[in-house]
């Protein structure tokens, strides 16, 4: 397994994709952090278009919302880089030399999941740092401060990193299940940018399923991070942190298992 991990780490770091996406992630989150911090310190209702019962957002809640923006809006990055680690093997047919070197397919997937967690944590640090750096100027000048000495806020930062790491692991599993790179990226973009946001808001409006939106992966990740753009602005409610972690890890395990036993059992030709 150590051998497979060493090889997988080299595989990841010898192409340019991982740092290109990391730079885009940093820029994107710094931008979002700045925009959201400006908006929320100016007019909290601006973000929801008047939807939801906008509570009195205190400065601490605003800071938590900004600091977890990477989980609310930036998780597509670790998800994509995770998926690419598997779909790239099939796209460039390096799956053949990979399985020649390590015929135990479970070990190949396992190494990718572990490296995915490490890379996801790195993306988590970068994305979270981007949101903090982007938001700080407005929180300090227009808002009620940075709250970076608050244990609760610091916990949000830590769990934001953990949530993004798990997103990357989910991506690896999803890539193992779909294997087709174009299909995987399309599914990820469609689900994260369109399907889940609509489902989350739509399910709330539909009484019998009102609680179901909390179990969607994006909602579970926000629960794990401890805060979200959707919840602090009063639009949606979340599970508590522990259950959020359980649900999110459940998705990671589900996709990895499906990929292992449905797709990776097949002939490679």
């Amino acid at each position: 397994m150590i051998t497979a991990l060493r090889a997988e780490w080299r595989k990841t770091t010898t192409t340019r994709m991982w740092w290109l996406l990391a730079i885009v992630l940093l820029g994107y989150l710094a931008f979002l952090g700045a925009v959201m911090a400006f908006s929320l310190t100016t007019d909290p209702t601006a973000m929801t278009g008047g939807m939801g019962s906008v509570p009195d957002l205190d400065g601490r809640a605003v800071a938590k919302t900004i600091y977890t923006l990477a989980v609310s809006l930036g998780y597509v990055f670790p998800l994509v880089i995770g998926a690419l680690s598997m779909t790239g093997e099939f796209r460039h047919q390096t799956i053949t030399p990979t399985l020649l070197a390590e015929p135990r397919r479970g070990v190949v997937l396992g190494a990718k999941l572990v490296v995915g967690a490490v890379l996801g944590a790195l993306y988590g640090v970068i994305g979270t740092a981007g949101a903090v750096l982007g938001g700080l100027p407005f929180l300090l000048t227009k808002g009620d401060g940075a709250f970076l000495d608050d244990r609760g806020v610091l916990a949000d930062l830590l769990f934001s990193v953990v949530a993004l790491a798990i997103w990357c692991v989910i991506g690896v599993g999803l890539g193992a299940l779909l294997t087709n790179q174009v299909a995987a990226v399309v599914v990820i973009l469609a689900f994260t940018q369109f399907v889940e946001p609509i489902l989350r808001i739509g399910l709330v409006a539909f009484d019998p399923l009102e609680g179901a939106q909390k179990f969607l992966p994006g909602a579970a990740a926000e629960a794990l991070a401890g805060s979200s753009l959707y919840s602090t602005t009063g639009m949606l409610s979340l599970l508590d942190r522990g259950w959020g972690a359980v649900v999110l890890l459940g998705y990671a395990a589900l996709f990895a298992a499906l990929g292992r036993f449905l797709t990776l059992r097949r002939d490679v030709s």
């Binding site: 051998t3 053949t96 490679v268």
Partner: protein, 308 residues
């Protein structure tokens, strides 16, 4: 490891079968590849060569039968790339990775260090391109890198699918010499597939011919050559005289597009020379023709519509 001359393990295939839908790609194939020799694995396109290799290497699951390397399945080898080096037809590299990094990615599995990566790059003549991204490589360079990957773990068995594809003539000569060296001096087991007999004729010791997934011939190259009808190309001013001579001796005259020469089947150059001398016929050129070995290959594989 490097420098050892111990005999490699044999490759033994028994009753190997694989169907894709209604098509039996490989159908009860039996063959043995011995160490210390280069074995040509021949067959027309679609004969099942690549599928056989992929089953041997555990990439494709066989419906029936076994494919063993030194008595063990590929997947059961503790460090497979240190025992078997394989380069398959769809040579597969990430275009954004350099040649050296490609090898470094697989080096941990073979249990080798970065120095060995540079060593095999030098061996296949890619030292100057080591840090270039593979995306810009020519087919021949990719072929060489695929061979370098196969050599990385200094394996006792080499399995190469169409390794001469895309190589320039110089590269083909180099590959031939190199593979013969590995087999004859180092005792390695070398299995090389091709759909063109002529391509491997100069490098193989043994031949295994398959068609439609079945074994049609397994022998030494010499025994295969013995199946061929000898042919002689004659350049002579008196064509009619030679046609008459061939008729008298029972040699067939092959139809030729070119008027200056005749090709006689069933004769050796010595026989034709001797007969012409006795008949007082002038000869300007006399040469043995290799073409009929291709005919044997076509006959064996059913390429001319006639199954043996």
């Amino acid at each position: 490891m490097p420098g050892s001359a111990s005999a490699g393990p044999p490759v033994e295939i028994r009753g190997l079968t694989k169907a894709f839908g209604a098509v039996r790609a490989v159908d009860g194939l039996d063959m043995v590849v011995r160490p210390g020799a280069v074995t040509g694995f021949l067959g027309p396109n679609g004969a099942g060569k690549t599928t056989t290799f992929r089953m041997l290497l555990g990439l494709v699951a066989a419906d029936a039968g076994t494919a063993l390397i030194g008595g063990r399945r590929y997947a059961d080898l503790a460090r497979p790339t240190a025992v078997v080096g394989a380069a398959l037809e769809s040579a597969s590299f990430h275009p954004g990775r350099s040649a050296r990094d490609h090898l470094r990615t697989y080096a941990p599995f073979a249990g080798v260090d970065d120095r060995r990566c540079d060593e095999v790059l030098a061996q296949v003549g890619l030292s100057d391109a080591a840090d270039r991204r593979v995306g810009g490589f020519s087919t021949g360079m990719r072929q060489r890198l695929a061979l370098a990957s196969a050599l990385l773990g200094d394996p006792e068995v080499l399995v190469l699918d169409e390794p001469a594809n895309g190589l320039d003539p110089e590269g083909i000569v180099w590959l031939r010499t190199f593979l013969r060296h590995l087999a004859h001096e180092r005792g390695r087991t070398v299995l090389v597939s091709s759909h063109v007999l002529g391509e491997v004729q100069a490098s193989v010791d043994d031949v295994v011919v398959i068609a439609e997934g079945r074994l049609v011939h397994e022998s030494s190259l010499a025994d295969l050559v013995a199946l061929a009808t000898p042919q002689v190309r004659v350049v002579a001013p008196d064509r009619a005289g030679f046609v008459a001579l061939a008729g008298a001796r029972g040699w067939a005259v092959e139809p030729q597009s070119d008027d200056s020469a005749l090709v006689l089947s069933g004769a050796t150059p010595a026989e034709v020379g001797a007969a012409a001398y006795r008949a007082g016929l002038e000869i300007h050129g006399l040469a043995e023709e290799g073409g009929s070995l291709e005919d044997v290959f076509l006959r064996l594989t059913g390429g001319d519509g006639v199954r043996p």
